[in-house]
Structure formats: structure tokens, C-alpha cells
Symmetry: C2
Subunit: 123 residues, 2 copies
């Protein structure tokens, strides 16, 4: 059966009704919300929302699974391999398998993005 | 290698640099843009953006694969099974396998949403 999580009013960053706010290991000033995943019944993919506070960054990461990212709010930059690229709300980013990557908030407001992964993924 | 599609300025709905605007079969006044898919190198999932003009609707659909939807712009309603639910920008919707579903624009502006699917999916 389908599930709807409505975006709720929030003074800070983005929140959704019925979705828990989680800290995110190994990252500075970053939170995670799983919008669509096993709890909703999805066993093929997951849609997560990450938010990075001003001055924060995601962990420098490299792994065999890929990411589909769409920025929902804010501005920042993403490292793909050795190069940094500016990103802002609306931009779509594909992070390829085994690609070194990191997201950084370079602005005074939260940087928030959806990050899609396959449910069954190599580490 | 990673890919970035920047959201581009557009007088009407949302567009991205380097992403083709496609019509969408079997739907009224609806367009499709594949933001992340085979062309970007993604072979585990795809992130598509659908946009429905005022007065339009997606096809009434039912199939074995599931959808992860996040509304980016506008207002409308979604049918899940026999019930209709109002949705608007920011809301997340999980459409379960084999669930009858349809999206309809009930507003005067475009209704646009991301729709995630697994790359290898049952029909």
C-alpha cells in the first residue's frame, strides 16, 4: 500500500510528517531522513534526504554503489573525483560507482538534497 | 564518471541543461525528463522528472514495479488504489507494486515531480 509523507513546516531545514530525523555518522553537521525505504515497503531503491548545515560537509566517501542526487535547497559544492563543482537548488548530480565524492555547504543556509540509492548495493 | 545537470532558467516548468524534454505516452499534457539514467551511467535506478500541465493528468496506471515520488513544484492530487490524496511541492509519495495510481494537476501552475524507479523492474 502506498504511503504519503507530507512536507511539514519547519523553522530550519526541511522536514516531513512521519519521517524520523537521524544524525549521519562520519559527517559534520549533517542529518538524514529516509523518505522512501524499507519502512514504506520499498525493497528496490531508497530515497533519502540529507541536510548539511552552514560550514558542514558530508564525509569524503568512495564506494562501489552509485548515487542519484537532486538538490532541494541551498548552495554548496560537490567533489567528484579530483574536481569540485558548484551546485544549488534544482541541480541533479550522478555520483558514479567508485567515484570519490563529498558535499559541502558553502552558504549561510542549509544545503539539502535527495540522494537515491539501490536497495541492494555493493558496499 | 559523475555527471551534473544544472537546472536551467525556464519561463514555464523546470528544465535541466543537457536533459532532453520528452513527451510521455498515454498521458494528457505531460512531459518527462530523465535526470539520471542509463545515459548518465546509472544501471541500478533512474531518477525522472515528470511535469503535468494545468488540467492534465498522468495515465491511470498499475504495474508490478514501484515508484518513489517527490513533488518539486505545484499542487495536485494522487490516486493510490481507490483513494485520492492532495499533494503539493515537497511531499513524498511511495507508490507500491501493483497499486493503481494516477497523478492529476488541480492547480493553475505546472505540477512537477521526481519519480524514482529501479532500473531492472518487472513490467
Amino acid at each position: 500500500m502506498g504511503v504519503i509523507h507530507r512536507q511539514s513546516a519547519s523553522a530550519g531545514g526541511l522536514r516531513w510528517d512521519g519521517v524520523a530525523l537521524e544524525g549521519y555518522e562520519a559527517a559534520r553537521a549533517t542529518s538524514k531522513q529516509v523518505l522512501i525505504g524499507p519502512r514504506e515497503g520499498a525493497d528496490r531503491f531508497a530515497v533519502r534526504y540529507f541536510e548539511i548545515a552552514p560550514g558542514g560537509a558530508s564525509a569524503l566517501d568512495e564506494h562501489a554503489h552509485d548515487h542519484g542526487v537532486v538538490v532541494l535547497t541551498g548552495r554548496g559544492r560537490v567533489r567528484l573525483g579530483d574536481a569540485w563543482h558548484e551546485i544549488r537548488a534544482g541541480d541533479a548530480v550522478y555520483v558514479a560507482p567508485d567515484e570519490v565524492h563529498q558535499f559541502e555547504n558553502t552558504d549561510a543556509a542549509p544545503l539539502g538534497f535527495l540522494c537515491v540509492v539501490a536497495a541492494k548495493r555493493p558496499a
